[in-house]
């Protein structure tokens, strides 16, 4: 007895569009089961996780703050994933972007005011992430090294570099020996969008990035080349696209966006460097990218969905004493359900029984 996947012949765009909703529905059911196993009421958990954040204006701002870096990183990942390049090191590129982008603000802590600092640090953040992202691309092009391994291992190097900097040379001398840099000057911080709450201009950057990515993949030759390279590498050669060059550019953009997300996090809501500035955003963004089906608009929805699970998880930890690990587990379940829903939209399962298995 075995299971077979048979292609469906009746896949409509509507069914395809509805698949993530099915996925979220099933993930909620499984999540409810977990909550019951943990001895809590699933209804109460549902209320804390989903209803309260979506009805409270302050919480909505908080969701946007959490979704912002996810949108930026995930839209960047689209450039790699669509080309079948597996950049799973966005976390490292994010940290490297945050580090490089912080050089200028930290050097100008004593200045009165300097309007050029913020844009320069954003550009340096992009640059830091992009160059860090170029490493796996160059190694892949030159030596055929797996970009998966390289990009992942570079995450640990970035994390330890940040750790070294904030405990060593960049530590705030007036910081009571805490492993943090001095707080950034106000002019180096992203402006808030509302007079109350923490919503900052990073969200606009994220939306701009999503729109640009949408245009790149919808209309430009470059986006077309990436799609062809991902769908059919031989057709990309036939088209005359330069695969190594495209690999490099895809990683530069992907890394650059992750770096941008890093410096946006630092200048938007943290305000200084600490040993942990991301907490796995670069990995979570992989889920976001697939939740959004590698499409910028989908990614915006996906990022808010995941932000909801993060925020709800924190709230549930406080209100219901549910472990924060549950949030991570739920995100994993969600990704699993999304991939399964996509597969089951395209294929149907057939149980094969026979005498000669």
């Amino acid at each position: 007895m075995r299971l077979e996947l048979l292609p469906r012949t009746d896949v409509t765009p509507i069914k395809r569009a509805l698949a993530p909703l099915w996925a979220i529905g099933f993930a909620l059911l499984i999540g409810a089961g977990l909550v019951i196993l943990l001895g809590r009421s699933p209804l109460a958990a549902f209320k804390v996780y989903f209803l309260e954040p979506l009805t409270d204006p302050w919480a909505l701002q908080e969701l946007a703050v959490k979704a912002t870096p996810l949108i930026i990183i995930a839209t960047g990942l689209v450039y790699c994933f669509r080309a079948n390049l597996w950049n799973i090191g966005a976390e490292g590129q994010l940290i490297m972007g945050a580090i490089v982008g912080s050089i200028v603000p930290l050097a100008t802590v004593d200045l009165e005011s300097a309007a050029w600092v913020l844009p320069l640090s954003l550009v340096l953040g992009i640059l830091g992430g992009a160059l860090y992202g170029a490493i796996p691309a160059l190694l892949r092009n030159r030596f055929g090294v797996s970009e998966i391994l390289v990009s992942l291992m570079l995450v640990y190097i970035a994390e330890l570099t940040l750790d070294y900097l904030v405990r060593g040379p960049w530590r705030d001398p007036k910081g009571f020996n805490f492993p943090t840099t001095p707080s950034f000057p106000d002019f180096a911080l992203l402006p808030n969008l509302a007079s109350e709450g923490r919503l900052h201009a990073g969200l606009l950057i994220a939306l701009l990035g999503a729109v640009m990515t949408w245009f790149v993949f919808g209309r430009t030759m470059f986006g077309f080349g990436i799609r062809v390279a991902g769908e059919a590498p031989r057709a990309a050669r036939f088209a005359g696209f330069n695969a190594p060059k495209m690999t490099l550019i895809a990683f530069l953009i992907s890394g650059g966006m992750a770096g941008l997300a890093g410096i946006v996090e630092v200048t938007g809501q943290i305000g200084q460097l600490k040993p942990a500035i991301s907490g796995g955003l670069g990995f979570t963004a992989i889920i976001v990218a697939y939740l959004g089906r590698l499409h910028p608009v989908g990614i915006i929805f996906g990022a808010f969905t995941i932000a909801l699970t993060i925020y709800g998880g924190e709230a549930a930890q406080i209100a219901l004493k549910l472990p924060l690990d549950l949030t991570r587990t739920f995100q994993g379940i969600l990704l699993f359900c999304v991939l399964a829903a996509d597969a089951l939209t395209t294929y149907r399962l057939r149980l094969v029984t026979g005498a000669h298995e």
Partner: protein, 511 residues
Amino acid sequence: MAETAVAHAPLCVLEGIVKRFGDLAANDHVDLSLYRGEIHALLGENGAGKSTLVKILDGLLTPDEGRILWDGQQVDLSNPEEAAALGIGMVFQHFSLFDNLTVAENIAVAMPSGVSFRALNRRIADLGKRYGLALDPRREVWTLSAGERQRIEIVRALLREPKLLILDEPTSVLTPQESEALFTTLRELAAQGCALLYISHKLEEVTRLCDRATILRGGRVVAHCNPREETPGKLASLMVGTDIPALHERSHAQGEILFATQSLSAPAEELHAVALSNISLSVRSGEILGLAGIAGNGQSELFEILSGERHAEDAAMIQIAGVDCGLEGIDARRRKGAAFLPEERNGHAAVGAMALSDNVVLSRHGSGGLTRRGVIDRRIAQQWVDAVIARFDVRAPSANAKANQLSGGNLQKFVVGREMLGSPKVLIIDNPTWGVDAGAATLIRQALLDLSASGAAILMISQDLDEIFAIADRIAVIHAGRVSTPVPVGDVTREQIGLLMIGGEGTAHAA
């Protein structure tokens, strides 16, 4: 022999088979009887329902209506294992092989468990000797040519000693001699009482080989006939439903040399790839040069290097209109007025999951006025699609369908049309009608003749000798990366070409 065999009770009967996919009835009350010892041709254009019927016989699809009788008993074929257990063997046109496994391993997976590799290797060798199906059991499949891969499929089926063997386009990758050897095999199998269901687009061989023919059109049986009493043209018109136009010959006025290679050599890039050695060819304006050869003798390597997907070692090795371009990429060569079409439609010449307009952009982005400063003009791309669909009679479900929604023949007409619409000066085309139906093949060949009449130089790589003899002016043969001196097609016989295809010296060097 056929007459006496037919007099017995049929081995397998299909009665009123109906299979629907949505609104489309791929098989609409199809009746078919197969007798022991007969070679039965199943004919029809792409989309006529042949594959569906064959998949039903092989247990891959379950019919919505109708029944299957095997030796007079009604049977349910719900999977290929059950079909195989009854004695139904299948040789698919598209190979279902594991590339990273060896020949013997690929054969073993289709065998009942408990057969030792040593015994298997011996049986493979026996069959190879008996039927001329030489195979090295230890080679990995990815290193083999299409022709060799097909031999695995045939051996795999024969090892199970089938009572009914279904062959889908078995000669499409064989030389004339190999085809004849296969026919001998098949006749011997039939003489031993095996029933054969033979699917082929090569109607000429059907009229020589097969005892009976069933012709499908639009999912229905439109005729049963004795192919020995019909002409290939009559069979083709039964399949299509209208008369197939004959090819219009063109004037043979030839002009200057538009495409040439000079001592083109290239080392093998991978372990089992073919090295190209000292190839000098030239094609004149108005000329079609046919390059025959068995699959896997360097055709794909040659196409890669002629198209610019891979660079030559020296600029002067390849010239378009007298200009050295060996070191240029495919797009630069396109801008010089050349067009290219590889053998494989899916994933090479076209991207299945992408829209037709995207597939126009794929090869015409540099030479079709489709982009401005890196931004694609979708309107112009769609105009290209509409023009190709209209001029090359492409049947697509919609004007901007995805490539994989088109049947093989229609997608091939589309990609051929895409390359021809810009009136290229030079066209390098690899197997232009591989696996397409008679109607599409005729249309494509006529388009090639028309293009050359308009002054283009065409280099046509083809494994179909009939095709080369039908439309080429000169013919050369590629074997093990070397190319024979081209000679006018009128000056050689198929047998001489066949000898060159297997590396013999032959007497074809008339020029």
